[in-house]
Structures are given as structure tokens and as C-alpha cells.
């Protein structure tokens, strides 16, 4: 498993997931909170998932019953939380102190 590259956008995504009390967020919700473009967000989400920092699961329910496509929810794993906190601690001086650090 490859360690994901830590960028400001990656930290934004991790910080959003870590600071969210519901813990699980869909891609659209993460995009809305982080203001990241869809083209930037999904490569980050999938890279973090590949590295085991995030896990994702489908919304419960049948799309036909829901009347819309299912959402996929993302959650930070224990490993992801640990690594993210380490990265945030290291980068805090550069980021100027983040609320979710």
C-alpha cells in the first residue's frame, strides 16, 4: 500500500472528515464543505482509500426506491486519523494553524 502524497487539498479533505461529527460524508458534501472541484476531489478520495486512510460504503437503499442514484459515504479509518494528525502537526506552521488540527 502506497503512502498518499500530502497536499493542502488532501489535508482539507481529511480535516473535513475528521471534524465532522456525523463522521460519514458523501463526495458532494465534502466538495461543498472544502470547496474543492470534483476533478480534484475524487482522485484524492480514491488515493486515500487505496492507502487505507479512508473507507467508503454505499448508502443503504435501492436507487429505484430512492428515486435517485445512491450516495457513497466516506469515513476516516484509525490509520487515516493517526496519519492525518501527524501530517497536520508537521505542517501546522506552514498552514498557519487549522481549526481541526
Amino acid at each position: 500500500m502506497l503512502e498518499p502524497r500530502i497536499s493542502a487539498q488532501t489535508l482539507k479533505v481529511l480535516g473535513t472528515l475528521l471534524s465532522n461529527p456525523r463522521e460519514e460524508l458523501s463526495g458532494a458534501e465534502i466538495a461543498r464543505i472544502t470547496k474543492l472541484a470534483s476533478g480534484t476531489l475524487y482522485p484524492i478520495l480514491l488515493r486515500l482509500e487505496d492507502a487505507g486512510w479512508l473507507v467508503s460504503k454505499w448508502e443503504v437503499g435501492d436507487p429505484r426506491e430512492l428515486g435517485r442514484p445512491r450516495r457513497r459515504f466516506y469515513r476516516v479509518t484509525g490509520l487515516g486519523a493517526k496519519r492525518a494528525k501527524e501530517a497536520i502537526r508537521e505542517l501546522r506552521p506552514l498552514l498557519g494553524g487549522a481549526a481541526w488540527a
Binding site: 466538495a31 475524487y42 482522485p43 442514484p69
Partner: protein, 149 residues
């Protein structure tokens, strides 16, 4: 002249309003189909193993995005995302191949070191070494010949 000009401007304004309304309606009607085509195109560009998942996930994302223009912008972003995901997958494949090659080399080296150790332990007796290693004598000879021992 003043009256004619005023009437002309009024008519033009009316036509403009009707035209823009028509264009807006046309745009609204076309957006879902255009968005769907853009997502399909983006999904086709994504790595094979992610296509099914992304097709539903991205349609869900667009569904949660307010405004027709917003939906178009988000859907267009998926084209960029799919290109990046393909690059990531190719890069991961190269890394994985490299890792497997390294493992192969390590396994080969371990095997060779074990053969050498047993060979020395058996006072360089090929038959005895082959018996202990549970391989055919000729196989061992071939391995040793290749290593010029």
C-alpha cells in the same frame, strides 16, 4: 422618429426577452442529457475496475448539486478526475510491478543462499544435497552449473 425608435426598442426588448426565455428553457431541457453524456464519457476514461462505482457515485454527486450550471461544471470536472484516476492507476501498477520484481529477486536470493548452505553442509556432495533439498539431482546440477559452483 422618436416614437418609431421607442417602438423599435420596445419590440427588440420583447423579442430579446422571449428569445432569452426560449434559450433558457432549451438549456434547462438539454442539461440532464448533456450531463449524463459527460459523466458517461468521464466514466469510460476511468480505470476499468472503478467504472461501475464511479458511474453511480458521480451521478449521485451531480444529483446533489444545485443549479443546472453547477451540474454542468461538476460533471465536466469528472473528465479531469477520470484522467487523473487513470494516471494514478497506471502509476500504482508500475509501483506494484516493481514491488513484485523485488520480491521475486529476494525470493530467488533466499532460495539460492539456502542451496549454498546445504551444499556446503554436505561437503559439496551433489547427491546428498539434492536428497536433503528434496529436489532432483539433475535439477541441482543445473542450478549449480548456472551459478558456476
Amino acid at each position: 422618429m422618436g416614437l418609431i425608435g421607442t417602438v423599435a426598442v420596445g419590440v427588440l426588448a420583447l423579442l430579446g426577452a422571449c428569445g432569452s426565455r426560449l434559450l433558457a428553457d432549451e438549456f434547462k431541457a438539454w442539461v440532464p442529457s448533456v450531463v449524463d453524456r459527460i459523466i458517461s464519457f468521464a466514466v469510460r476514461r476511468a480505470p476499468q475496475h472503478l467504472r461501475e462505482r464511479l458511474a453511480e457515485e458521480w451521478r449521485g454527486h451531480v444529483n446533489d448539486t444545485p443549479g443546472d450550471l453547477g451540474k454542468l461544471v461538476v460533471a465536466s470536472g469528472f473528465i479531469w478526475a477520470s484522467g487523473k484516476l487513470r494516471n494514478q492507476a497506471e502509476h500504482a501498477g508500475i509501483e506494484r510491478d516493481h514491488y513484485i520484481r523485488e520480491l521475486d529477486v529476494s525470493a530467488g536470493r533466499l532460495r539460492w543462499e539456502h542451496i549454498q548452505r546445504v551444499f556446503e553442509m554436505c561437503d559439496r556432495n551433489v547427491s546428498e544435497t539434492a536428497r536433503r533439498l528434496k529436489i532432483h539431482r539433475r535439477t541441482l546440477q543445473r542450478i549449480l552449473r548456472r551459478a558456476r559452483l
